[in-house]
Symmetry: C2
């Protein structure tokens, strides 16, 4: 048995996870960051709430970069170069395994979701950014080798990205990118049904899909172009790694299959290098939803 | 001991290679393709010329895609779905291991050249196209999983590529791409010293570098932009795989360091995701030159 903790922007979620990936007990507390020492103690306290005899390690997934038991940096919590495992063990004497959140999502899906039965597998998460986690021959490309496929340039000299490059895939294929593309279409098409939907909920990742389902032309064009952006980076990734399967996760992955996965698969069948030979990569939808983080963090010790 | 055979566009080169990667004996014959059966016999005959007691296998590197002992297709020889090992063993009863030529270059450099001492390593070869070979945790991403990083789109809706995509890295960063960029600069700049150099040798990959060394502005601009193209795809690749080192090979890699490797390293230091944390990838020059193919083919059995 393992403990997995998913460190999100607002909450910490911990789960006791068995070898098959079932969550046997779960706890959630708000994130109230008061510095690395108290954060380590919070993780230990939270672990204590789901701890049972036989737990082998505590895995923690967080947004940022890690190296072994050390945090290099986190993106929504102000930590840099923190020896988190060392601080944690002052309170609970168990190995603390750290993983980037996108990597944990990949690990979770690999053992218990869309990636079951594969050896070479990736998850691409479409959210605020584009996260990617990669499993090669059953081992996670984690820690210092953690995959940052969202920061592939697909559009030379294109839109500036926070990472310092221009034209990164995540600027186009993230939910953030999709929202920006939707807003631009709204400006260009005052007659579009996008405005009516946006008036109810604000502009969200699903706005264009909702309007496109009603047959709105401007929205259909946004969805088509978004699928092309998504395909461009995904094919780049697939041509380089040739995994057996890639699962798409995050809110946008819930879009109607006809508007997202179908055009995506069609472009990929045409453009992936496998059309010339070699392994064709299956494009799947992530299955675990919000549990992927806990399960993946818990399973870290089996892929590192 | 192993035998390695490098199948080029015009010649077959075979070498007897020891465990340390030394070529103990070598033979070369012109490629005279008369169908798969006679090709298999030619490989067996050529192997026989360097064969000694204790040879464990024959490795063959060729342009194309392979799956185990089968050829899926070759690009400059008309073969498709050929069970080459089966045909070969009619003449010589040794295991026949097949590899893509870019993959073999990576394997050769990994054991005996720029990649010695690494576990995660890649070679990017700048020639007619952009070839890439990738070693992950000491194993080649070969066969059905062979890396095709040259077919990453860096420029959405850009120049059409033979692979069916538009804007592939290899359209910009190959020697072919560089020659095209040089020709365009010559058209735009009739006063450029590029014309004088091209008049002597024709337009080659080195033309722009030669003129740039003489301080020609148009040539300097071509070299700078070429380094940006090369960097764009290389950083994409490095951000996704985070290898310890990448070696650049092929004719263009011989360009003056000041004009190619220096600007390349400078862009990479600024733009690689490692500037935010994680492992920085060293950029090296391939060391084995024309021997990489023979040595890499010979070593295939140690990384597959």
């Amino acid at each position: 048995m393992y403990i997995g903790i998913d460190v999100g922007g607002t909450n910490l979620k911990a789960g006791l996870v068995d070898e098959a990936g079932h969550i046997l007990a779960a706890e959630r507390i708000p994130l109230d960051f008061q510095g690395p020492e108290s954060f380590a103690k919070t993780l230990a306290d939270l672990s204590g709430k789901v701890l049972r005899e036989g737990v082998e390690w505590v895995g923690v997934g967080l947004p940022g970069a890690v190296d072994g038991g050390d945090i290099l940096y986190t993106t929504n919590i102000p930590m840099e170069n923190v020896p988190l495992e060392k601080l944690f063990r002052r309170h609970l004497d168990l190995p603390l395994l750290l993983g980037n959140d996108a990597d944990c999502a990949a690990v979770g899906e690999f053992f218990c979701g869309a990636g079951k039965g594969t050896k070479d597998f990736a998850v691409v998460t479409l959210g605020t950014g584009v996260g990617a986690g990669l499993i090669v021959d059953g081992r996670l490309r984690g820690g210092m080798a953690s995959c940052e496929a969202g920061h592939m340039v697909i559009c030379l000299d294109g839109e500036p990205c926070n990472c310092g490059r221009r034209g990164c895939w995540e600027r186009y294929a993230s939910a953030t990118g999709l929202i920006q593309q939707t807003k631009r279409a709204m400006e260009a098409h005052p007659e579009s049904a996008l405005h009516k939907i946006a008036a109810e909920h604000g502009v969200e990742g699903r706005t264009a899909f909702l309007a496109a389902e009603d047959g709105d032309e401007a929205a259909l064009a946004v969805c088509r172009r978004y699928a092309e952006y998504l395909a461009a980076g995904l094919i780049n990734f697939v041509n380089a790694f040739r995994p057996e399967a890639v699962a798409i996760g995050g809110g946008v992955a819930g879009a109607p299959e006809r508007l997202l996965l179908e055009p995506l698969r069609e472009i990929m069948a045409r453009e992936c290098f496998s059309s010339h030979g070699g392994r064709a990569t299956r494009i799947l939808t992530a299955e675990l939803g919000n549990d992927a983080g806990i399960i993946g963090a818990a399973m870290l010790g089996r892929v590192l």
